[in-house]
């Protein structure tokens, strides 16, 4: 499946799609988007890349085994869930920084939760697809 056109295209598509996925992730709180969709788009970007260049190449770009994204994402999820406990609040209470950050907007524990979801989704989908592809 190594067509030069696709290879060239994915070289530019990968960063663009990844950027788009981060965009979807960050704006999820206000507009359609969010961790799930963001993670899915990012996974599609990598899958596309692996179609064009082979799974081994994609794994090289990723640097880490996709399965390692899962624990990172899950810990982020759990952390943002239990973080309010440190402040004596019930778990899952949304915590917010006072000032909005440029570009991203308001940052709160919900955002970290979304990032956790994003990472888990990428980890899960890439693990499944790449394990099968490599088999």
């Amino acid at each position: 499946m190594k067509s030069p056109i696709l290879q060239t295209a994915t070289r530019y598509l990968l960063p663009i799609l990844l950027l788009f996925s981060v965009f979807l992730l960050l704006r999820g709180h206000y507009y359609p988007g969010g961790g799930f969709v963001g993670g899915l788009v990012a996974s599609i970007a990598f899958v596309l890349h692996s179609f064009a260049n082979g799974t081994a190449d994609t794994l090289k770009i990723l640097r880490y085994q996709p399965i390692s994204f899962i624990p990172i994402g899950l810990s982020l999820l759990v952390l943002s869930t239990v973080a309010p406990l440190l402040g004596g609040l019930p778990p899952m209470t949304a915590l917010w920084f006072e000032q909005p950050v440029p570009v991203i907007g308001m940052i709160g524990s919900a955002l970290f939760f979304d990032i956790g979801v994003y990472l888990v989704v990428i980890g899960v989908i890439l693990t499944i697809l790449f394990t099968i592809a490599l088999d």
Binding site: Y30, Y31, F36, V121, V124, I128
Partner: protein, 120 residues
């Protein structure tokens, strides 16, 4: 429109049921996916159809002014879609392994001879 959608829903279910009554594992899997889609549609219909009013607020307001689509079915379906992907992928891999093992996707080939003897 609701009538058409309920028709589609019924057909999705019918096709799903028809496929899970087949012997092929791939058809079984497709059937399960169709049943999942049918159920998603069912949940979606329960929230009333609203056109062009997603449950997303305008930038200027902090409370909804207009009518808007029911967000709960949407949240439920979103979860269901993602989970069903997990299940489907697991099932596909299972299918792959079974195929590698018995070299067939006929469910009846999974019954080992001993079991069949016991049945008799």
């Amino acid at each position: 429109m609701e009538l058409l959608l309920t028709l589609v829903l019924g057909l999705l279910y019918a096709a799903g049921v028809y496929l899970i009554l087949r012997r092929s594992m791939v058809k079984l899997l497709l059937g399960i996916m169709l049943l999942g889609n049918g159920t998603n549609l069912l949940i979606f219909l329960l929230g009333k159809l609203v056109k062009g009013q997603p449950p997303v607020m305008d930038e200027s307001v902090s409370v909804f002014k207009d009518i808007y689509a029911d967000p709960i079915p949407q949240a439920l379906i979103l979860t269901a879609i993602v989970i069903s992907f997990g299940i489907t992928s697991f099932a596909i891999v299972l299918l792959k392994r079974v195929y590698a093992l018995v070299d067939s996707d006929d469910l009846d080939d999974l019954n080992t001879p001993e079991e069949e003897e016991e049945d008799l």
